[in-house]
């Protein structure tokens, strides 16, 4: 039982990382129907930016805020300079997905060129080795911080989407684009903002993940794919689904790693996606409308 709790707790910490990544993916998918394959690479770029700033002896708080802004600026620039022209030329949905893949490749190359491919350890104010005991369960400061920030960011995000005028505009835009335009909502800026916000959530996840792993240009690939899995699990067009999916995936994966086999911890996540897609393609909380000829 203790072991079970222990695995579950450490699963929740990784799960909140997945939830943050999934939230960004779901946000973009919901408003633009684009699967953002560059999400992981934008995150990596942001994290490397923070790493460079920390190397310049900047205070970590400032460095992190700048990195978050850098990531969202990147996404917004991509939206305006590539996606909008592509949409003007009537790119298909698949075409737009491939465009994000192109951006991902570019960022990946640039990060490896400027940041180097050697894994580096990421300095962080929270420690991975300092641990707290709750009863018989052990949790590290970093995991606790990660879980906390995941919850906090999700809460802020919820308030933004549900309780503000901006959130209302975002919901309207994702619900029905032409109608939102008719109602006078500046949909283009709203969509750009969604991209920026999604990237910001991604970079946040990256910043909290980097100290747990080593930082190299590919460190985000797997969490990014898991984030995808989480978003699918919860339903790609549902924001609460992304959070629930992320936490479930994190815990399930940790339990599978602990009780079944550590080698198949990663494979497990992808088996979950395939199963979910076969049984309930719209995910746990998602709703996808039917299509007609």
């Amino acid at each position: 039982m203790t072991q079970f709790l222990q695995y579950a707790i450490s699963g929740l910490a990784t799960g909140s990382i997945y939830a943050l990544v999934a939230l960004g993916l779901a946000l973009i998918y919901r408003s633009t129907r684009i699967l953002n394959f560059a999400h992981g690479d934008i995150t990596t770029a942001g994290t490397f930016f923070a790493f460079t700033l920390l190397g310049l002896n900047l205070h970590w708080g400032l460095a992190f805020i700048l990195a978050l802004l850098f990531g969202s600026a990147l996404a917004i620039v991509f939206y305006f300079s590539v996606l909008v022209p592509a949409q003007r030329r009537e790119a298909t949905q698949l075409g737009q997905i491939i465009l994000t893949l192109g951006l991902g490749l570019i960022l990946q190359g640039l990060v490896s060129y400027f940041g180097g491919t050697v894994p580096q350890s990421f300095p962080f104010p929270l420690s991975d080795t300092k641990i707290y005991r709750i009863g018989s369960v052990v949790i590290s400061q970093l995991s606790l911080g990660t879980f906390g920030i995941g919850l906090f960011a999700s809460l802020l995000f919820y308030l933004l989407v549900q309780k503000t005028r901006l959130g209302l505009a975002m919901r309207a835009t994702s619900e029905n684009l032409p109608a939102a335009q008719t109602m006078g909502i500046p949909t283009r800026s709203i969509l750009a903002l969604s991209w920026g916000l999604a990237a910001l959530l991604g970079v946040l996840a990256g910043l909290f993940l980097a100290p747990a792993l080593l930082l190299d240009p590919f460190f985000m690939l797997e969490p990014f794919l898991k984030g995808f899995a989480a978003a699918i699990l919860g339903g790609l067009n549902s924001l609460p689904g992304a959070i629930v999916g992320g936490l479930i995936l994190g815990v399930a994966e940790s339990l599978a790693g602990g009780f079944v086999s550590i080698a198949f911890k990663n494979t497990f996540a992808f088996l979950i996606i395939i199963l979910v897609l076969l049984v309930r393609p719209e995910g746990l909380l998602g709703t996808e409308f039917k299509e007609r000829v």
Binding site: G95, I97, L99, G102, Q108, L225, F270, I273, L278, P281
Partner: protein, 326 residues
């Protein structure tokens, strides 16, 4: 576009006599390549032939049937390791190659099943998940893959007293030629038309009598058969296999080749294969920049030339044919 007057003409591979001459010269140049080009070039050309098979398969799936797949590396791995195991027992290569392709095709059928229910982005994720799961299974089951140490495959011993590199060149050239001709036949048969109908609108295709289940699965099976053959040939050519040759990046490379070469065109697939092989060669001093080149090319292609290198080539040909009029 040409005026086509009969079905016979539609089925012809080459329609104009001059095109026949140009293609003839091109094939002749390719045939003579090992005799005038340096060894290095022959080697790269061989890899391009091997890759063009898999890219054609991928293009059949993405370009013709419109089913997106990011799991292509899995089929490569399955084809390659099946071939490797069979070759190790001492069974001759044609059987090994065929069973590598068939094993990949069988798994293609399995992956095809989700495609009956899933569309677009969802299918992309399912195939991506499959690709990564297979990679990790190969990485963790040493029995299947020889583990991280890899698996040694006996290379073909050259026949007719040819140097090894020349022999490999002709061997792979022939196989690639056979598969390319087969691909032309597939896409101009009923099957190919059914694939295109599914891509354009699957529900409408079903209404006019295309058996959706059968043709979607068939498309997956043929595509992964081609990819499996590529895997087997690559193993035979390099003489060595390890799981890390089949990462997610490899699937992306095949995907990039299809997009850059040109969706729904066999010639485009070959051009795309040449592109993804040549770019790392040209940029070998700046290895990190290779993905950047891919990415920038994708952006340019998708925004300015949606039919890729083949589309550009087609326009150039049209321009030259009509010169000096436009």
């Amino acid at each position: 576009m040409d005026l086509i007057e009969s079905y016979q003409e539609e089925l012809q591979l080459i329609r104009k006599p001059w095109t026949r001459v140009w293609v003839g010269i091109f094939v002749l140049l390719l045939l003579l390549l090992p005799w005038y080009a340096p060894e290095h070039i022959t080697y790269i050309a061989t890899i391009i032939f091997i890759y063009s098979i898999g890219v054609q398969g991928q293009n059949l799936l993405i370009g013709y049937t419109g089913q997106i797949s990011f799991g292509q590396a899995a089929f490569l791995a399955i084809g390659a390791f099946t071939f490797g195991h069979i070759a190790r027992v001492g069974i001759p290569w044609p059987i090994g190659l065929l069973s590598g392709g068939l094993a990949a095709g069988a798994f293609g059928l399995v992956v095809g099943f989700p495609s009956l229910r899933l569309k677009g982005p969802y299918l992309a994720i399912a195939t991506l998940g499959f690709g990564i799961a297979v990679y990790q299974i190969f990485l963790n089951f040493e029995v299947l893959s020889g583990g991280r140490m890899g698996m040694i495959i006996t290379k073909l011993s050259p026949l007719f007293g040819l140097p090894r590199i020349t022999f490999n060149y002709y061997f792979n050239f022939l196989i690639a030629l056979v598969f390319t001709l087969a691909m032309y036949n597939i896409i101009s048969s009923y099957m190919g038309r059914a694939f295109i109908a599914i891509r354009d609108n699957d529900i409408a295709a079903e209404v006019i009598g295309v058996n959706l289940t059968r043709y979607k699965l068939l498309s997956f099976a043929i595509s992964s058969f081609y990819t499996g053959i590529q895997g087997g040939l690559y193993g035979l050519f390099i003489g060595y296999l390890e799981p890390n040759m089949f990462t997610f990046m490899e699937a992306i490379t095949l995907f990039v080749a299809v997009i850059i070469g040109g969706l729904a065109s066999v010639e485009g697939s070959i051009m795309g294969a040449a592109f993804v092989i040549l770019v790392p060669q040209v940029f070998s001093a700046y290895k990190e920049m290779v993905p950047v080149v891919y990415g920038v090319t994708i952006l340019i292609v998708l925004i300015f030339e949606p039919f890729g290198l083949y589309g550009r080539w087609f326009k150039m040909r049209l321009y030259l044919r009509n010169w000096p009029f436009r």
